[in-house]
Amino acid sequence: MSDRNGAVRIGVYTCHCGANIAATVDVKALAEFAALLPNVVLSRDYKYMCSSPGQDLIRQDIRDHQLNRIVVASCSPHLHEHTFRTALKVGGLNPFYFHMVNIREQASWVHENKAQATRKAKDLVCAAVRRVAFHQPLERGRVAIHPDVLVVGGGIAGIHAALTLANAGKHVFLVEREATIGGHMAKFDKTFPTLDCAACILTPKMSAVRSHPNITLWTYSEVTKVDGYVGNYKVTVLRHPRYVDEDLCSGCLECLEACVCKQAKVPDDFNLGLSKRKPIYIPFPQAVPQVPVVDPETCIQFKSGKCKTTCIAACGDRHAINLRAEAKVEQIEVGTAILATGFQTFDARRTPYYGFGKYPNVYTALEVERLVNASGPTAGEVVLRDGRLPRTVGIVHCVGSRDENTHRWCSRVCCMYSLKLAHLIKERTGAEVFNFYIDMRTPGKGFEEFYQKLLNERVHFIRGRVAEVTDWVFDASEEGKLVIRVEDTLAGFVRRIPVDMVVLATGLEPRADAPEVRRLFNISCASEGFFLERHPKLAPVNTFTDGIFLAGCCQAPKDIPDTVAQAGAAAAEALALIDAGYVETEPNTAHVMEEQCCGCKTCISMCPYHAVSFIEDIHKSRVNEVLCKGCGTCVAACPSGAIRQNLFEDDEIFAEIEGVLSNA
């Protein structure tokens, strides 16, 4: 190898990572072992290699000992490979004369026997030392970043991200599946813990989106295809027909009046079926855009073709209504994308013992959000389905959260919105309100104070997971009521509490279509199904796919402030890329050694990105290194070994294999 790279002088650095590594791997022994390996001129161990003294150590040694290869045995390359490469660069060495050995995540943290863990670490270091000798100097490529941004999802996260970017002068495509933006927040009346009116803070932002020159808003639309790579994504958006032209419609809503269906018959999704709408409707008064939608499922014209189409007449010469409208497909190019696809609430029918769907007076929290909402189906009056005013209300916490049988995670917002609803219900009805909780979780600014406030308002709190909501009664006092059976773990006995109304604090779960979205954007999901961030602490809004960022509840349950903060962060990450103008790509691309290529074309069909093409006149294959994403599939497939991959050369991998097995 030395003939290829001149005399190889390797420096090996073993990191203690405090006790994280040193406790399970004998770092001294490891360093001594490394010192004796071929081409190693220097081997050190140090407490924290990633710290700046640690990095200085490397830089200094490169100068003092003419090191031309560096191996660091510490944590996962996914965490600090970049850090150390930069250190090499500063030290005047090509950053790719470096290899990292993962002896923390994949050794000290997963093994208990110190001798064995150390043996394994030695093998891995030995492999790295052999490998790094073959490393070549490489240059990073640069990819220009298209300044436009795609934001998927028009809830508060998407709205905030879109506005932030637009205000920074970037053009944003905001794609929302529903007929209006606003998401879940638009359904709320008040927000905890400040009890300020959700509409008052949300609707201005919604209309700002609509009117912003830098935002292209596509509601009733879905992303159906994503091609390309960071900086240059080609996105296909399917725009479902709403049968009312957004540009021609003035939002007068006369068509709704004019509809031949005089009274509304269709269950209204926005109010979760608590009210009815017409076949032509607007989701809610403050909807954005202020443009009605025709529902082909229920519109007579669509069903029979024999409607007087009074709506069209009412629209008159505005000609906004076109019942023959068809779906449109838009093609756009963006450099980055922010996923803000949100969550869905847990389906209370999955916990039949709480009687949702069986007893009419069992509600989900979201239904009650609509009930207490001034612009909701009851204009803010909290009444039972039979119109009665509830005298006693029970709020069941953790429905579909913290439960082996449904979801293990805490949904984070339920405790607080339950407190909010308890307050609002008491305020509106004067009813006696019981909260049934496992633990009260109020870790947020002003949260605990709000909890105290509710205690002072004489809202009851019973600590215990509710066993069931039932209608079987012991005595007359329970007649006609719903009985909540629960073990009161503070009082230490089982209680039966008769109430008029039960509110199920359903948790947050990943949207049913999260897997499709994930594949569309080539990102990962965590085990519970929420999108996976690149690093839980250091890259919470990034994904493993460059240029794709996360905001809001699609990443994990969170409240509005956290969502907005994350949306801002995602926007900032996108801006950082855009304003840099380019992104540096990993040089681990493939390339064809043309004199060795026999032109068999095996490689051509290997590449899903069409990065390999066949040059007829020289009868050789060639790799377009910009399109190449560096998977190496073509390298393995090349029958005559004529394709090579930077950083994953055959020589390097064979050396690594021999290394790990060197003392087998």
Binding site: M593, E595, Q596, C597, C598, G599, C600, K601, T602, I604, S605, M606, F614, H619, T633, A636, A637, C638, P639, S640, G641, A642, D650, F654
Partner: protein
């Protein structure tokens, strides 16, 4: 005076001897240029004649065939001692060759296979005062360079006349090629294949055939017709004689210098261009390859990473 050369055969079929004669009248130039001191198949020299010579007094020894008996080992070592250059001549010497497939079994296995219960002659026997000792049959077959250091390799089963004459050219006058060189082009034979332009870019084979199972189109890429043709992985220089005969390349010219395990690489490549993403379908496609080792290591098992079948 003319350089002394020796020819010798170890475990081989004799085809490589033929290959020298395949030079036709060209062989006369060779004969004219050199002084042949040893060639069991053609000339009556004895082993003792070689032993009598001074070390290094032979310019070049051309040894074909694999090493699989103690006597072949002795001869190889003897010729190595007496020669300046040793050339591994032909696939068997270079890679182990067809005899190398014996590494799927053992000496005992082979004898049982061949003689059944007929019994095999004992290693020692005497006849009116003469004692004869049969050489030991090794359990494994070896390429020549596992037995002795080899200076040059000439690929092919057998090497083509062109390759052979080029070889003499290269070795008889200065400057000599790089030590350890394989005396053939260092790219795959697809490049020279007359049908190369008929190889489609999108190849998705949905089944494999054996030669006897399919009437082959004379001028279409053979791999594209569903036969595991190893042309893409095999060193060029053979003159595509098999292709011309409408037979797939079976890889006798062995690997180019850019791969380490010929069969592994060839398998890796061919397995990449098939149809199917589910196990069941994939297995159906591969049913047509009844003997993977025989298909991908036909000439190179002893020089592969695994060298031989694992002992039970």
């Amino acid at each position: 005076m003319k350089p002394k050369v020796a020819f010798y055969w170890c475990a081989s079929c004799g085809g490589c001897e033929e290959a020298v004669l395949d030079l036709a009248e060209g062989v006369l130039n060779v004969v004219a240029a050199v002084d042949i001191v040893f060639w069991p198949v053609a000339l009556d020299f004895k082993e003792k004649d070689i032993s009598a010579m001074d070390d290094g007094s032979i310019a070049i020894s051309f040894i074909n065939g694999a090493v699989r008996t103690s006597h072949q080992l002795e001869m190889a070592r003897l010729l190595r001692r007496k020669s300046k250059l040793v050339v591994a001549f032909g696939a068997c010497a270079q890679l182990g060759g067809i005899p190398g497939l014996a590494n799927l079994t053992t000496a005992a296995g082979i004898l049982a296979e061949v003689y059944g219960d007929a019994g095999t002659p004992e290693l020692q026997f005497r006849d009116d005062g003469h004692a004869l000792t049969l050489p030991k049959l090794f359990d494994s077959v070896f390429a020549l360079d596992r037995a002795i250091p080899v200076d040059y390799y000439v690929p092919g089963c057998p090497p083509s006349p062109k390759i052979v004459s080029d070889m003499f050219q290269a070795l008889l006058d200065e400057p000599l090629p790089e030590p350890g060189a394989v005396l053939a082009p260092d790219h795959a034979m697809c490049d020279e294949c007359p049908r190369r332009d008929t190889r489609p870019q999108e190849l998705k084979l949905d089944r494999f055939y054996r030669v006897q199972e399919r009437m082959l189109d004379m001028d279409r890429c053979i791999l594209a017709q569903g036969l595991p043709c190893l042309g893409p992985a095999t060193r060029a220089g053979c003159g595509s004689r098999c292709i011309a005969g409408n037979m797939p390349c079976t890889g006798c010219f062995g690997p180019t210098s850019h791969m380490r395990d010929y069969g592994g690489k060839a398998l890796c490549s061919i397995a990449s261009v098939i149809e199917g993403n589910e196990t069941a379908q994939i297995d159906r496609v591969f049913e047509g390859i009844v003997d993977p080792v025989g298909t991908f290591y036909r000439y190179s098992l002893p020089s592969s990473f695994l060298e031989r079948k694992r002992l039970e």
